[in-house]
Amino acid sequence: MTVIDRVHKARPTQRWVGLGAAAVTWWALYSVNLPFWDWLIGDVVGLDLETRLGSGVHFFFYDTVKILLLLTGIIFLVTVLRSFMSVERTRAILGGKREGVGNVVAASLGVITPFCSCSAVPAFIGFVAAGVPVGVTMSFLIASPLVNEVAIALLLGLFGWGPTLLYVVAGLTIAIVAGFILGRMRPERWIEPFVFETKLGGQTVDPGMSLTWNDRIQIGIEEVKDILKKIWPYLLVGIGIGAAIHGWAPEQWFADHAGPDVWFAVPLAVLMGVPLYSNAAGILPMVEALFDKGLPMGTLLAFMMATVALSLPEMILLRRVLKPQLIGLFIGVVTVGIIAVGYLFNAVIPT
């Protein structure tokens, strides 16, 4: 019997005991991770952890396990909490909102609504056809990938509360302001006409309403499996590059070419990030290693925001409902927002 089937049939006591056991196991693994690799690589294999090779190898294994644990724990928690929310409910809440307030609510809901950019098109049509203003819908679509659970999990684990909160607030601000600006530009003229003609038929099944706790836990486990399956290649490549940077990259070179004194580092990082398609799991291990090398946090986070917020596959999907002018403006406004946030972070976070 698979774990999913077990959860599906669990009685309440079994369920809570099972969850408790999982939490304890998680905590034990997380606590033992650092001493274990210190011991295995330092004492058993006999590498000197101060050397390039030793610290690179140690970084690779320690970070892989740490990041996998963080992802598992946080994706599970976030998914279970999000199962109380749904795209349908979000649309109902946004239905009566005007621009301004609507943008703020839409961006916040973008963070807590279970959603994947692969559903961006049906969600866009569903919102707009139901009368949600285009700019408000945009705020939702920008916030959803930008402030995502993978990024939050990793930022929290690698950099702590401060940068994580700053990231969330900055991501929300970009989504609110960009959606508001786009909404002021009469974007309706750049939307394929069929969107407005779509009839919303039938009854809506609200997937959040009828779930039991067993269902929610099951969805949480499925989501962890799905996301890990999707991101592990990015993660390994990211950690590999991170380990190489950690052990070998010369600090002076980075300081000279991308340090706090290089004024064009932020826009350059963003322009590099936009066409690059990865996710937070692939980028953050590199960000961590580069931060250790003295690169400013704002430059690094701007790079990450650019890769996760604007992706080519999503733009190609959105082309089915948006005309090229609006896609261009969308990319432009969000890019400018990310650059601004990068400079702001560099000004407030010391390296």
Binding site: I4, D5, H8, S86, V87, E88, R91, P114, F115, C116, C118, S119, V121, P122, A123, I125, G126, F127, A129, F194, E197, T198, K199, L200, G201, G202, Q203, T204, V205, P207, I219, E222, R320, V321
Partner: protein, 79 residues
């Protein structure tokens, strides 16, 4: 029974179709399958999060890929 799988031919839709076919054959249901990939029609069924499962024009599930067992529970009362 007429079964429609709503979505853009993503991996999730393929998995949903597989689970549904397994469930239907386990229940001995004779069904015709149809893929709906057109955005306007998908939204027309009330789906904003793909994949979606429509049985005899009624939306029974959206936004996740269930196991074959779960689809069986959904289909059994409709057969």
């Amino acid at each position: 029974m007429n079964i429609k799988i709503l979505g853009h031919g993503c991996q999730n839709c393929a998995n949903l179709e597989k689970a549904t076919r397994e469930a239907a054959s386990a229940l001995g249901i004779d069904a015709t399958y149809e893929k709906v990939t057109d955005d306007a029609s998908i939204v027309g069924y009330g789906v904003m999060r793909t994949p979606g499962l429509v049985v005899d024009e009624k939306l029974v599930l959206s936004g996740r890929v269930p196991t074959a067992d779960q689809v069986q529970e959904l289909l059994a009362p409709l057969a």
